[in-house]
């Protein structure tokens, strides 16, 4: 579910079900032409679709970090700490920046990027078995 779909009152009881936060990182530098920026966002939207549509009842998508690639890693880490304080147990980063990997992003549970999981994309747009499997394993270990 998107962050905008929750009201204050409903969030308290829904909190215990939604323990995973999806943080998109677009990694724009600002030097892109308008259509290139659009293309990057579209790329990221497909990646987020792999996570959002099958796990709609447990994942909350937070507003994306639009600008800043690898050099913004520590800023993204601070955001991830913030998200954990908000009560989320797992944080998944969907990033269109290949350089952002596990060393740079310390606090994140799973990083999903187009290149890493492009090969296993299911023949239907919103399906990526490898990503789903990763997330399931993440939830099973965490339990």
């Amino acid at each position: 579910m998107k962050f905008s779909e929750f009201e204050a009152e409903t969030w308290d009881e829904m909190k215990k079900f939604f323990d995973t936060c999806l943080l998109p990182v677009t990694g724009l530098t600002g030097s892109e032409a308008p259509h290139e920026a659009a293309e990057r966002l579209e790329l990221l939207r497909d990646v987020m679709d792999w996570i959002e549509s099958p796990f709609q009842g447990r994942v909350v998508t937070y507003p994306a970090v639009q600008y800043g690639g690898a050099e913004a890693a520590d800023q993204i880490n601070r955001i991830i700490q913030g998200v954990r304080q908000a009560g989320f147990i797992y944080v998944i980063v969907a990033s269109a920046v290949e350089e952002l990997n596990e060393e740079l992003l310390s606090g994140v549970n799973l990083i999903v990027t187009p290149q890493r999981y492009a090969k296993s994309a299911g023949q239907h747009k919103s399906q990526n078995p490898a990503v789903q499997e990763q997330i399931l394993r993440l939830w099973q270990e965490g339990k």
Binding site: H35, E36, A38, E39, E42, A118
Partner: protein, 294 residues
Amino acid sequence: MAHNDKSKQEKVVFVGDSRVRRGNGFVTPPDYTAYPGKSEAFIPNFLLKEWMVGVVVLVGFLVLTISEPAPLGFPADPSASVIPMPDWYFLFLYQYLKYPYASGNYVILGTIGIPTVAFGALLLAPFLDTSKERRFYKRPIASALMFLSLASLVYLTNFAWTHYKHELEKAGVEPEHIQREEQALENRLAGLPPAGSEPQAEIAIVDKDDPAMEFYTKATCISCHGADLKGSGGPSLRGIGDKHDKEAILAIIKEGYNGKMPEMYTAAMNAGLTDEDVDHLAEWLAKQKAEAVE
């Protein structure tokens, strides 16, 4: 319903309203008795004649609605360049306002002055032309004024319409509703569903992650045909395989297309693509067919 005996039924008496003067039955307008002539009962005799005229007019009217469909242009778009034309019965006013003494610094005269006088006189005609005489040829002023305004109406409307037609030719533009009808005809001949039913189903890109996609971006085709080949500025390339085959696409890349698209071969070359890449790109584009994706 039981046939109850009529006589026992209580007679219904229509209670008049005391304040309303009891009329003397039918209103016999004085005029008829004053002119005995050969008058005729309205129902059914005259009404039948009147409705014969009604039937003829209705048939003509229905034939008109069947033969000439109501025009419909393209959706309103404030940035469209369209020669504005009001409905035909406003043309005379529209044309009149173009004259020097009805616009510019005489605009008060044009918008309030003369129209108010003209329409005001028409509205108050019975109070201006108060003589008893009714035959128009015996009322020179009123009739002359009316003939004058009729003549000017016809002249102004005709002038506005011919001017509009002239402007259309000069601008080389066809009125939109005719364009839309031609397009609808073409669609019907090409067997596409009529506009307004389902908008063209989206044709998906055939094998999206083919390396040709990079050539497509590098050779800057993306800047006009859009990231998802749906076209931004340039036309959509979805289903282009149905329209042109590989050689035709190669030719288009090399020489451009009907004056709108410049040749892109040199752009591809200095973007670092080899001739083989461009060939592969053309082949990939030729595969973009509507029903190929299953």
